[in-house]
């Protein structure tokens, strides 16, 4: 039987087989590293998500500082995870394993920028965030994280109106409209995740506009009251 005799004659110690054994080791090592990075990424995601929920408690709260301090502690608990990623990917092309931890990084960028926005009313730049990531943060992950931030800003805008905070909504409107104008110009870059998130940004933008619209109209009811002229009263103390 020719098949049998050929397969029996294969030298399992040939240089060809040796190189395939090396390939096996390489492929396995790659896969193992990828798995380890995915696990770290999932850990980062879950902590970041919780930080974001905590931060929403700031809206209308009298004790913002306590919440911020709590967040700072949680952020520092993420630091060792980033160190692990840094060690795993050290001296490697940063794009080689980027897909393994992009989810975690985006969520973390979202948490960090949201924290910064609520505490300092400003957007933290890529350059400022980069050290926290020990240089492992890609620009695209920063952009995607900031796009997620706009969703949280929108939520904060809606809540703040209810909480009697009349400044935050207009601040968010101004921030979002600037970001929107800039980000929408990113469109030509063909990147599926980016396009999806840009679409969500447009929706958030419209929600914030609608909220500011009714906030504005409520002020204008003064005019209506005057018009109705049966309920004249001094409304100045209402604001």
């Amino acid at each position: 039987n020719i098949s049998k005799s050929v397969s029996d004659s294969i030298d399992m110690n040939s240089s060809l087989m040796e190189s395939f054994r090396t390939f096996r080791a390489d492929l396995d090592a790659h896969q193992d590293k990828y798995e380890r990075l995915v696990k770290i990424s999932r850990d980062i995601t879950i902590i970041s998500k919780r930080i974001i929920f905590n931060l929403h408690r700031c809206v209308g709260s009298t004790d913002r500082e306590a919440i911020f301090e709590e967040c700072v502690t949680k952020f520092s608990s993420i630091s060792p995870l980033i160190s692990s990623i840094q060690q795993e990917t050290m001296d490697l092309d940063p794009y080689l394993y980027a897909r393994a931890y992009t989810n975690g990084y985006q969520e973390l960028v979202e948490a960090l920028t949201f924290y910064h926005f609520l505490r300092y009313s400003s957007l933290v730049s890529y350059q400022h965030l980069s050290p926290f990531f020990k240089g492992t943060l890609l620009i695209i992950d920063y952009v995607l994280g900031v796009l997620d931030l706009t969703g949280e800003m929108m939520r904060a805008c809606i809540s703040s109106i209810t909480a009697g905070d009349m400044d935050t909504p207009l601040q968010v409107l101004s921030f979002l409209s600037q970001m929107n104008l800039h980000l929408q110009q990113f469109r030509p870059f063909s990147h599926k995740e980016l396009s999806n998130k840009l679409r969500t940004l447009s929706t958030s933008m419209l929600k914030v506009e609608k909220a500011c619209y009714s906030l504005h109209l409520r002020g204008c009811s003064v005019a209506l009251i005057a018009f109705e002229d049966d309920e004249e009263r001094d409304l100045t103390d209402m604001y």
Binding site: D11, D93, S125, H182, F186
Partner: protein, 226 residues
Amino acid sequence: SEVHDIFTTLRSQLTVDQEVKESLQRLLEPLEESVRELYTSLQAIHNPGKQSIHSICEKGDVMLLTSREKLGALICAVPIGRYYKFNFMWSFCMQRLVTCISLIHFLRNGTLITQVQVSNNLLIESDKFNLTLEDYLVGVLILASELSRLTVNSVIQGDYQRPYDIFKFVSELNAGFKLLHFKNDHLRKKYDSLKYDIRRIEEVVYDLTLRGLIPETEETKIEETQ
């Protein structure tokens, strides 16, 4: 404003990326063109007419000169440390190159060219550009597919020796691939097709054996090919 500055910076960075990508794309196109021509010219092995396999390989060598040059231009343009950001762009091209180079090598030497040999052949400097293991392996699997087709065409052309050589070679390849663990990806799918390729080759060899069309010095020849 602050936001304006941040986004202006981001946009210019992303624009640079985009421009790098476009310039790579422009350099990639002539490479693809030359690889396609190389591949097409090697296809002549299936229906060689008056050409000898030997001359087809030589013609391939000549065409490789062009591919090597176009690849060189591309390599120059790849930014250092960002190889894996763009390598999906030329992945298909590299696989085809591996197939072509390993085909010529097999036809001449009857052996598998190594990943390093292919890199050297293509003058790839490994610090900023490299032939990934995946592309090498996919290229080799496509080689097996070509060889499977070649067994059939060899018989049509009355060459009963080559099927045996190919069978021996692909069997060893198969034993090598069996050592590997894949994920559910493109590579795995290609590897699955190897089973069918080798079965077809084996069938041809079986057909020849059955009809006594074994070349006389078969035992010896197989020995030699290795």
